[in-house]
């Protein structure tokens, strides 16, 4: 399962005037110009959906593979194969472990990478391209190279590598290309220096500035980075298998070997769940806090309180 890097959308339109004409203004596009994006969209959708549909037919249709054709398109669909996996005890153990690994990886990634990205943007902007290069290395160097490294250090670090959670640091590294880019895009969209200066001039220390100003304004980036990291962890097979840790992907691999049809059903479920999760992220990051107390109400309450206090005295 390879996660897709999605450029985060940062909270609301910018307050500063932007240069250039607004979107939609200018020369009307030709018919060809209007057609091309639609064709690309349709081709992409087909490219994305066709393998899933084929997988769905193989996993969920109780029809021998050689007979899968247009005439059997609607025959014998059943969720029985997929639901069978829920009865497997190891499935739940692997899922729990993968979720634990994902949670740990997300936490450590946020804890390490967010301050680093902020620091690089604020204090050493010249180092940005270097940091970007470093963070993209896990993308260029295949996971199998990392595995080779692990094999080398394994005799000396058995105490650490024996733990299921020993995968977390490696997953943090593997997720770097996605997470750093997400933070970087979020920080680029903010007038970071001014916001930090404004916060500090109002008496906020670094802790308050990060928690009250930066984190809320990087909400979208943080959510995307977290989901991308989780997606990397939930889909990573090579490292887990090397360290003999049975997280979800090694379990899936074994399950497919044992029960191919149900196994691919589980894979399909995982893909659909990930897609739905990212759709949910898009919705989540648009939503404003509905419970926000309005100033008018708060000011009225304050006035009431002070009136009461005056009456009491």
């Amino acid at each position: 399962m390879i996660p897709v890097v999605v450029e985060p959308e940062i909270g609301g339109p910018p307050t500063a005037p932007t240069s250039g004409a607004p979107l939609g203004v200018g020369r009307p596009r030709s018919r060809f110009g209007r057609l091309v994006p639609n064709v690309v969209l349709v081709v992409s959708a087909v490219f994305f959906a066709m393998p899933l549909l084929a997988l769905a037919r193989f996993a969920l249709q109780n029809v021998p593979t050689v007979l899968l054709g247009w005439d059997t398109l609607f025959d014998k669909w059943s969720l029985k194969g997929v639901t069978g996996v829920f009865k497997e005890e190891q499935f739940w153990a692997s899922l729990r472990l993968s979720l634990k690994l994902a949670f740990g990886t997300v936490l450590i990634t946020l804890f390490l990478l967010l301050p680093t990205a902020v620091w690089v943007h604020l204090r050493v902007p010249k180092a940005r391209s270097f940091v970007e290069f470093v963070t993209v290395l896990p993308y260029m160097i295949p996971a199998i190279a990392l595995v080779a490294g692990i094999v080398v250090i394994k005799p000396q670090a058995r105490w650490f590598l024996n733990s299921d959670l020993s995968l977390i640091p490696f997953y943090v590294v593997l997720a770097l290309p996605f997470t750093y880019r997400s933070f970087d895009a979020g920080l680029k969209a903010l007038d970071l220096r001014t916001l930090v200066d404004a916060s500090r001039s109002l008496g906020a220390g670094w802790g308050t500035t990060v928690m009250k100003v930066l984190v809320p304004n990087l909400r979208t980036s943080i959510i995307y980075a977290s989901f991308l990291t989780a997606a990397v962890v939930m889909g990573e097979y090579t490292l887990a298998d090397t360290l003999l840790i049975e997280s979800l992907p090694p379990f899936q691999q074994k399950f497919v070997g044992r029960e191919p049809q149900a196994g691919y059903g589980v894979n399909l479920l995982a893909l659909v769940s990930t897609t739905l999760l990212f759709a949910m992220v898009a919705l989540l990051t648009r939503k404003r806090d509905p419970k926000r107390k309005t100033f008018a109400r708060a000011a009225a309450n304050a006035a009431l309180t002070s009136d009461k206090a005056q009456n009491n005295t």
Partner: protein, 345 residues
């Protein structure tokens, strides 16, 4: 009683000297504008006052207390930035409330203070809006309200009007002055816009290359610039080649012009810097020339006149509507009393 003093403040960024040795005193309730071109060190001075940068040497004093090494969040300063610096995730009211929360003021007092200050900037009706739902002018008023809400000892304004359109800029400029006068808050205002500085300030500090060239009232800075740089930077200036002809006179072409003082030797070639309003059209006895442009500006007309003898075009202000067209012959007289004589090296 709050005063702000820079005592021999020096700041460098690598090999670049941003501030050479700045000595500046802002009196209680005074508004001083630091005026100068980009890179002259005015924003660095402001950032040092705010605590975002630290001086390499010298001291910054607030009411005679040394705050040179005090971190930004421990100084009681209010600052308004050039770019709209409102926190996008907070409403207008919550933006104003931010500084009060960090000071751990109780909720009732905070709400009252926010209401008061939003009322002062006439934006109480926008309290529940988010920054992206208000205009640029409103955003800067909110930023001003936010800076004032914490009752700062000193207000620092870093080109707060430069991102606004002309009309809003004028309105907000007047509003800043009104509020500053009403609250009597000691204020340092940084701008590169001379009109803004002239209109709003008690005193103007004109800066160039990290040095304070002149610190004086707007009228003095305009009428009696202390250097050729100040003369050129503040207001419009005509530059005429001339020759020194005594302690109080110069020769422009064949015409003698009385000036307040010359420091150069007799016969030295100089550049005479004269404001357009110190040139006037006369019927006889002036420098002859031809009108090249005639620009009507409402209350005045600006004429471009090419002087025959010097072959330079000068700007001449004429009150009201000048009944002249390009190509017409005129004569221009120079009032040199407020002119600056610049040596030609």
């Amino acid at each position: 009683m709050t005063t702000l003093d820079f005592v021999s403040v020096r700041k460098t960024f690598g090999p670049t000297v941003a501030l050479e040795s700045l000595d500046l005193s802002v009196k209680e309730g005074e508004l001083i504008s630091l005026l100068g071109p980009s890179g002259c060190g005015k924003t660095t001075a402001l950032r040092i006052a705010a605590g975002f940068e630290f001086a390499d040497s010298g001291a910054v004093l607030v009411s005679n207390a040394d705050i040179t090494r005090t971190p930004a969040h421990k100084r009681n300063m209010g600052m308004v930035f050039q770019s709209y610096s409102l926190f996008p995730n907070l409403t207008v009211a919550n933006n104003v409330d931010f500084g009060l929360r960090t000071r751990k003021m109780n909720a009732t007092d905070r709400h009252r203070r926010v209401a008061e200050i939003l009322d002062l900037v006439q934006l109480i009706h926008l309290a529940d809006r988010y920054p992206h739902q208000i205009s640029g002018g409103q955003a800067q008023r909110v930023a001003l309200a936010r800076a004032l809400a914490v009752q700062p000892e000193v207000l620092l304004l870093d080109e707060p009007l430069s991102a606004l359109d002309a009309k809003v800029r004028t309105t907000l400029r007047d509003e800043i002055r009104r509020i500053q006068t009403e609250l009597g808050i000691t204020t340092l205002f940084v701008t590169h816009d001379q009109e803004e500085a002239l209109a709003i300030s008690d005193r103007i500090g004109v800066m160039s290359n990290g040095r304070l060239e002149q610190l004086d009232t707007p009228r003095e800075v305009y009428r009696n610039p202390s250097s050729a740089f100040v003369a050129r930077f503040v207001g419009s200036m005509n530059e005429l080649p001339a020759t020194v002809a005594g302690n109080h006179a110069v020769r422009v072409g064949e015409h003698a012009v009385m000036v307040s003082q010359t420091t150069q030797a007799d016969g030295s070639p100089i550049r005479l810097l004269v404001r357009p309003e110190d040139l006037r059209l006369v019927d006889d006895g002036g420098l002859p020339g031809t009108v090249t442009t005639c620009t009507f500006q409402g209350s005045a007309t600006v004429l471009g006149v090419r002087l025959d003898v010097l072959d330079v075009v000068v700007a001449v202000y004429v009150a009201g509507i000048a009944d002249l067209a390009p190509g017409e012959r005129v004569e221009v007289a120079i009032d040199g009393q407020r002119a600056v004589c610049e040596s030609i090296s």
